[in-house]
Symmetry: C2
Subunit: 349 residues, 2 copies
DNA sequence: CTGTTAGCGCTTTCAT
DNA sequence: ATGAAAGCGCTAACAG
């Protein structure tokens, strides 16, 4: 039996009145049941039921408590991208695990790349932030800093006052690059975008230091070192820059690379999704992996095992969880995550 | 220049005082800049900067305004599942699109399947809810109903007082089932779970009416009609029930189906992920699609095109957006979404 | 354009 | 075990 679509919002005070107790007793009935007599408690619950009271108002409670019990997550310019990229999804799942366990909500902020992204951060009713890796110049970062709540950036950039969780991308790229480029004469890299414009291009001799995405920058630095370790000058390494982390685009760009007069004989990608596209393109061109072209990926996703991709393993899920814990103030802010090399059959032995 | 890690939280009142204006002028400086003189506004902003004021407190603002500008999303027992299932991800992306456009946050509630899921709903500071399809007996539904805020369920169940967005699963299943079962003698179905236990099993003669997940129930009803339309009794149709929507599990169960004395010659799945597993298993068993076994999927995901799967096309992204709009009170609550049949090469002509 | 008043709904004191 | 007072930080409503 429900008292219809009642006029206005029902308050705890009304419940208390109907129950014949003080507001505090009613409040305790919800928040500290053990501190209230069973009788009082059931009177309150009864009255609540009768009035159709849905429980203490969350906003009022947040204001009074000074905490929202919600964690904010900032996923970069294109929100929906977060849900399409399997690695981003793993990362979110890691955050979700921690939030679920702590009874926290998880608010995904509606970032769009527009000028008001900062406001979205400023206006978010959350206790802390996790920021998915972004560019050095992303204005969202200063907005996050400005609100002075605990915040952790995944991957980078490193921002004073914010935590940082991630692996040593440079070292990992150098290590996987060594496998990719072993015995190669014309190595190439399939890269994530270099700046927030997300321009897709094929080029050589790019200076990693100019790259605004720190994760991409560090990986390029690592690949450069790997190339040099293999006796190849960086200016001779072709870099195919994709606008997104996407199998189809990597496949297209690789197809273009392969039609060049001196096509690459080794391609290091920045994700397994991209590497999958690379493998498809290589095979579509009638060439063999790794015989004609060695290929490496990154992340050790399911597709890496399917294709036998040599790759870098890291747990984005664990890193998401680490970010969440740090943003909830449970652990120290900074955290170097684990990675490992997974050699498979897409590189030369 | 930043005034260090200030003692307590800075309030608008302090900013107003330092700026030498009233609190309301300070408030307007943030919320209605056009209603304040440039001079007053910059005095306020200056003072804010000097005090390290991060802008109006979101909780206080929510309380006062009576709105949180945040939408709640309930994704079923296993939160992280939401991020692993590509269809769920599309759906979330559709919600995100609308939230981003309206400047709303999107709070994913940390549902775990534990007893306190209801509290998570009750305590969420959100203006409305979108609920991803669940079972008839999911206690979260009554919690959502109880809070009396706008709420929309995707797919089902239909709940009094809550909106509903989705396609006619029964009709769609009957239509795609007609293609799957055309010319078949021993059709089978690869199904989503039948109840929240998510028990995996192979069986026959299940009564769709007993199934607690409405979407699954309606699709089974549709497949039954399709079988009967093709002159086959439902009790002769084997149903392989998967615990999750997952390629690997569908592949395992299909492999089992194929070792039976009278293996199926047509398999209708409930998702393209499952259908992909079915196709792999059929091929691994050395049989041809559709020659030996016809296969159909659902959703028209990327994998459906790759494999040439006959499937049901629907836009989960659009449906997510429709749910969000309805939960924000912009559109009528109920909404029958579009679907269409996509015949490809995995069924007999 | 600016200010005063009131109070959103709740929970933290601190009594009793 | 229960209650009274106070106020979290802000903005709607209404002056001036």
């Amino acid at each position: 039996m429900e008292s219809s679509a009642d006029s206005k919002r029902v308050t705890l005070a009304q419940v208390a009145e109907l129950a014949g107790v003080s507001v505090m007793t009613a409040s305790y009935a919800y928040n500290r049941p053990e501190r209230v007599s069973d009788r009082a408690r059931s009177k309150v619950l009864d009255a609540a039921e009768r009035l159709g009271y849905a429980g203490p108002d969350p906003s009022a409670r947040s204001l009074r408590r000074g905490s929202t019990r919600t964690l904010g997550v900032v996923m970069g310019e294109h929100l929906s991208y977060a849900f399409e990229d399997p690695e981003a999804a793993s990362f979110l799942a890691g955050i979700a695990d921690v939030c679920a366990d702590r009874g926290y909500g998880m608010t995904i902020l509606p970032i769009t790349g527009a000028a008001d992204d900062g406001r979205r951060v400023t206006e978010a009713a959350v206790d802390g932030f996790v920021v998915w890796t972004t560019s050095d110049d992303d204005p969202v970062l200063s907005a996050v800093r400005a609100v002075k709540r605990p915040a952790v950036v995944h991957g980078g950039p490193e921002v004073a006052g914010l935590g940082l969780v991630g692996i040593d991308n440079r070292a990992a790229a150098r290590a996987v690059g060594a496998l990719a480029f072993a015995g190669a004469e014309r190595p190439a890299v399939v890269s994530f975008p270099l700046s927030r414009d997300r321009i897709s291009t094929i080029t050589t001799g790019i200076d990693p230091a100019d790259v605004l995405f720190p994760v991409t920058r560090e990986r390029l630095e690592g690949y450069r070192l790997a190339a040099e370790d293999a006796g190849i000058a960086w200016r001779d390494v072709t870099v195919a820059v994709c606008a997104r982390n996407d199998t189809a685009e990597a496949e297209r760009l690789t197809a273009a690379l392969l039609t060049a007069p001196e096509p690459p004989d080794a391609i290091a990608a920045m994700s397994d999704q991209q590497a999958a596209g690379v493998v498809h393109a290589v095979r579509a061109a009638g060439r063999a992996v790794p015989g004609d072209v060695a290929v490496t990926g990154w992340d050790d996703a399911a597709v890496a095992e399917q294709l036998g991709l040599t790759t870098v393993a890291q747990s984005l899920r664990d890193q998401g969880a680490a970010c969440a814990r740090a943003a909830l103030g449970e652990t120290p802010d900074a955290h170097a995550a684990e990675w490992s090399l997974v050699p498979r059959t897409s590189t030369r032995p």
